[in-house]
């Protein structure tokens, strides 16, 4: 009899703990969101015969001149504010052209956007750069979130990440 009561208590204690801990775990997992996107999601704008070339994970500007790309993202509205973002890029020979990468989070009708930018140093090779977007104005407006950049010739984007919280 005593043994049965003990088992009961043990089950109840386990349930209590599970009931208490599970929401915390689920809450954390769903609220914070950090998504990584391959560069192959990027597209060249204003051109139906683009010179962007895709390989595993990466996109390369094969044009002899700078081309503007946009790279889409999936906004997780429940996650809330964008807290940080990164871009992993590569310069291959062109170390003279300015290269700035922007992130924008816009209102639903696209009439206003918040933004941030990072500048790619003028050195050859692969670099991962980080930025922070203060999206106070547009985080609750159900507008889109994306990256855009005028990519120098031979420039590549391997990956971009966006953290929301």
């Amino acid at each position: 009899m005593f043994g049965t009561t003990k088992k009961w208590l043990r089950s109840l204690a386990t349930l209590s703990l599970a009931g208490g801990i599970a929401p915390c775990i689920l809450g954390e997992a769903s609220a914070a969101d950090h998504k990584a996107y391959p560069g192959t999601l990027c597209v060249q704008i204003n051109d139906v015969t683009p010179e962007i070339v895709y390989n595993r994970l990466r996109a390369t500007n094969t044009s002899a001149s700078d081309k503007t790309w946009t790279c889409p993202a999936v906004r997780d509205i429940e996650a809330g504010d964008v807290i940080g973002w990164t871009a992993t890029v590569h310069r291959d020979g062109n170390t003279t052209d300015d290269w700035v990468i922007f992130i924008n989070i816009c209102s639903m009708d696209m009439s206003s956007c918040d933004g941030d930018s990072i500048t790619v140093p003028k050195i050859n090779g692969t670099q991962t750069l980080a930025g922070f977007l203060d999206s106070v104005g547009n985080e609750e407006t159900y507008g889109p979130l994306f990256i855009r950049s005028e990519v120098p010739d031979s420039g590549r984007i391997y990956k971009y990440t966006i953290g929301e919280e």
């Binding site: 349930l15 209590s16 889409p72 009708d109």
Partner: protein
Amino acid sequence: MQHSPMRVLVPISIAGAIAFGVLGDAVAADTKVHSGSFCVEQADITPAIEYYVDSSARNSGTGYNNWQCPVTRDNTAGGGAGDVTDWRVAVHRGGNTTDAWTLTLYSCNEHGTSCDSDVQTVALTDSGYSLINGAAVTGFENGGMTIESSVPPDCWILHYRIVEE
């Protein structure tokens, strides 16, 4: 006066279970906004889809073109049910207010051979930005999801969002 351990544990258990239910549902609802540049033209190696710097997409062709706008599904929404309760598409007709235009959300099995769907029509009078409201789509929660549309010339998809619960 002494409280029995069971008297203490039972309320904690119930509170934990209730909290699990309430918080679990609250955090599991999922709203994802997708940039229009996720859309691609279907079955065409020389597509007329044109992307813009705000991550929108336009049909630059002279006739209708079929587009697929992929949806990132969250199968953990609603504790695994993942039903679509709402979907919306921000569109822009450009100068075209004469061609009929519909958008269909498909929720399909793994092979896309069987789907539930919801069709919405973009009004002919629409010009400029407008938001199309979709209805709930249930079923096939473990398959893929896409928005399909035969897009008239000079018409745009700015962004689209899916709410799962």
